[in-house]
């Protein structure tokens, strides 16, 4: 969807509220995008509901009054499209890939993915049920490494907490998370990361109370303006 990026203040002026359900990992970027959108479209107001993608999917399927859903994983988006709550084809607005995260100074001396097989090192991974865990599995399969994790966390932030506190020597997380964690965490890139790129889909809801603004917001996220905000946070954009 490259062409749609041209929507802005001019031609079709949109007004009203738009309610966006977005994955918690998008809190920072989408808050920025929301402010920018409101500035670009006076008379609009963006309300966010940040939460876990799966919880948001549940809420939407139970009739939550939303206009837009931005998920951190295609699987959660599928839960919503399956029930017909979303009829549009979801569009990918960002991509993310994995990085090795180690505590500041790399006390466990992790050099690369191979060290994840070492049982002496404390390793944290995401659980396979969540997107980063699924991605990690693909990476290890591609690298033909049997990882020896000590914990399978429920989300990336939990993994990152353990890295930043030095509880684990190494972990696999998204690039954007390493970036957001600042100087407490160091990132190490590795070749196999390209084998497991996670897509972030966005779509407006079939029964969106304010379909026009919803569409405008989706377009805004996919616009150049939107992309620059996303890439500043470390996302790859499609």
């Amino acid at each position: 969807g490259q062409q749609a990026a041209s929507t802005s203040s001019g031609s079709q002026a949109v007004t009203g509220d738009v309610t966006v359900f977005a994955a918690a990992s998008l809190t920072e970027t989408f808050t920025r995008l929301g402010e920018d959108f409101e500035a670009a479209n006076p008379g609009t107001k963006v309300k966010f509901n940040f939460g876990g993608s799966s919880a948001l999917a549940q809420q939407l399927n139970q009739g939550a009054p939303a206009d837009v859903f931005a998920s951190a994983a295609p699987a959660n988006m599928k839960q919503v499209t399956d029930t017909g709550t979303i009829t549009d084809a979801p569009r990918t607005f960002a991509k993310n890939s994995l990085q090795i995260a180690v505590p500041k100074g790399n006390p466990g001396r992790i050099a690369g993915l191979a060290d994840f097989a070492n049982a002496d090192r404390k390793i944290a991974l995401c659980a396979e049920q969540v997107p980063c865990g699924a991605a990690s599995r693909k990476v290890f399969e591609a690298a033909k490494i049997t990882a020896a994790p000590d914990t399978l966390e429920q989300d990336v932030k939990a993994v990152l907490t353990k890295v930043s506190l030095g509880e684990v020597d190494g972990a696999l997380v998204y690039k954007t998370d390493v970036k957001a964690a600042g100087d407490k965490v160091e990132g190490i890139t590795f070749a196999e990361s390209s084998q497991a790129v996670n897509d972030y889909p966005i779509a407006s809801l079939a029964k969106a109370p304010n379909a026009a603004v919803a569409k405008a917001f989706v377009d805004f996220v996919l616009s150049d303006k939107g992309r620059s905000v996303l890439s500043a946070a470390g996302f790859d954009t499609p």
Binding site: F21, A24, S25, E28, F48, G51, A55, Q58, Q59, Q62
Partner: protein, 265 residues
């Protein structure tokens, strides 16, 4: 004249585990406080945090009131009515405790959501929709916190001497009057304990709230939800926010309690 009133040493066998218990609860908090980058506090304490804090206090208090209204009679029913199958009912009452809060939120959505069993009628007939509203936060918190109240009060009722209720009956007091004027005052410490647990639990509620009521600033974003979002962006800020919540809670509880808590003297 000051007299030396040493009432015998406190028994070490009680004091040592008590202090260990206290340390177990408080040292991690001390850890939090020490590691917190307090310098970031002023920048954090913007209008949004104030808003979230206000919302948290209001919702937790309303949820506690709701729990008191429904929970005390329920505790009485379980403790005094001689209903058959009370043991089983009592066990069922603890269920919202065991239920992972997120699942609790899902359960509430299934019933009270716009497409829920009851919620759809509420919506259709009265235009009331609880999810994603402040009222929804109160409902979610009350659902999660009520078992604490019920179980505490029931324990207190069971320990109370029923002969005082008999004495009230011989004075012509109906069951309701007896409950209100005799039973309840005599279990007041238990009720206060239950209400404190209930309030604190509601104040810290996260999973059921975010699932049932969503996370809309100013409407449903309570402090724990703000903390959750802060964790996504700035873990240090999250800790500072938690500590703010704690301080407020400790302040409220420390201020409130000694006036209400003591038994008859």
């Amino acid at each position: 004249m000051t007299r030396n009133r040493v009432r015998g040493r406190l028994p070490a066998v009680l004091v040592l585990p008590a202090l260990a218990g206290l340390a177990f609860l408080l040292v991690p908090l001390a850890g939090l406080v020490i590691k917190t980058p307090w310098t970031s506090l002023p920048t954090l304490l913007g209008a949004e945090v104030g808003e979230a804090l206000r919302l948290s206090l209001i919702c937790a208090s309303l949820a506690t009131v709701l729990c008191l209204f429904l929970g005390i009679p329920l505790a009485w029913l379980l403790a005094r009515s001689g209903l058959p199958g009370r043991g089983f009912l009592r066990a069922l009452v603890t269920v919202p405790l065991v239920l992972p809060p997120v699942v609790g939120g899902v359960a509430l959505l299934l019933i009270l959501g716009r497409r829920g069993l009851i919620g759809q009628h509420l919506d259709a007939w009265f235009g009331i929709s609880l999810p994603f509203t402040t009222a929804g936060v109160v409902v979610a918190e009350a659902f999660v916190a009520m078992p604490f109240l019920v179980i505490s009060v029931e324990g207190a009722l069971r320990a109370a001497d029923p002969r005082y209720e008999e004495a009230a009956a011989t004075l012509g007091a109906s069951k309701w009057l007896t409950f209100r004027r005799v039973t309840l005052p005599s279990v007041l410490p238990g009720v206060v304990a239950g209400a404190v647990l209930c309030w604190a639990r509601a104040l810290g509620e996260f999973g059921a709230t975010i699932t049932f009521a969503g996370n809309f600033p100013g409407e449903t974003t309570t402090m724990p939800l703000a903390v959750y979002l802060a964790l996504e962006t700035d873990p240090d800020a999250a800790i500072v926010l938690s500590i703010v919540l704690l301080l407020v809670s400790v302040g409220v509880l420390a201020g409130l309690r000694d006036r209400w808590i003591s038994g008859p003297t």
